[in-house]
Symmetry: C2
């Protein structure tokens, strides 16, 4: 709570590294970015990174948290858009971090930390979507199943090649199923 100067400095330096790592991870991918390169861009020795982050996965999670936070604050400003508009917005948002969606799924296999983050992220997203659907008149049980199916469909679109037309028809179908029972 009561943070002294030292804590703030540490946080600042951490954020500085996170910004640099985010740019590299998004541009080149997580695997293609070495800790050495992050360090070089940050102007420190490679092992200095381990003073601020326990390992590369820890740095990944810090980057992810930053991205999620930024998206959430943007989302609250979206206000009264329709469900479909919000869905399209979400996909566009995730599209920017496509690479990291892959990376998270890949690292879930290897790293317990990433695994925990991943399940918590989906829990949060699921909760958000279910609330939104209930507010739009769906029954709780319907909302839960559609939130799950919807999330998987969005992730599928992100991680698989497809035409714009294919995307539109799947989204339209999902929206239609969502409201067919109201």
């Amino acid at each position: 709570m009561a943070r002294n100067k030292r804590d703030i400095d540490r946080k600042d330096k951490q954020d500085e590294i996170i910004v640099i790592a985010r740019a590299l991870f998004l541009a080149q991918g997580y695997e293609a970015t070495s800790m050495a390169q992050v360090a070089r861009d940050a102007g420190v020795a490679p092992n200095t990174l381990y003073w601020y982050f326990t390992d590369k996965d820890d740095l990944l999670i810090a980057v992810l948290n930053g991205l999620v936070l930024a998206s959430l604050s943007e989302y609250t400003q979206l206000g009264s858009a329709s469900i479909k508009e919000q869905l399209v917005w979400l996909i566009a948002q995730l599209e920017q971090s496509k690479r990291l969606v892959f990376t998270v799924h890949a690292r879930v296999e290897q790293s317990q930390t990433v695994q925990l983050w991943h399940s918590q992220f989906h829990q949060m997203l699921d909760h958000l979507i279910v609330e939104k659907l209930i507010a739009n008149g769906l029954l709780k049980e319907q909302a839960i199943v559609i939130a799950t199916a919807g999330t998987f469909i969005v992730e599928g679109l992100l991680t698989h090649p497809h035409s714009a037309q294919q995307r539109d028809s799947v989204i339209d179908w999902l929206i239609a199923q969502t409201f067919s029972t109201v």
Copy 2:
């Protein structure tokens, strides 16, 4: 076509390596398995693997092709099961190769070879499902969109933690949507 002894020997040795690699990849994961370990289990020097496969991704694809071929031949013996039974069978089948589903998505980012394999795999799967749905009375357009959505939902179930109940309700929902328009 006309294969001589030498070609057969080469194929045999390749298959031998593939079987060993498959066991290791499924048990420990692709990333966690080093080429050195595959070589050790195969009783050859590490660099010998590069005589039979151009690189580690090439070996991965050989393993994947073996798995897909085995599944397809099992599938044709499934005969007259209902759509839902076939869906449940497919999920159980993929569940066994869960790790490699992650791996393929991760490697798609890095390797053009894997990217090509991945898109061809989905093309084949999609075609199979669409045909099956049309044979069950769906219109072509409906079949296409449901094949896409269904594939994504199945992949989502594979790659995300969920309860048995959650799985059942999503599958039931998908089946219900599939036949609601017939």
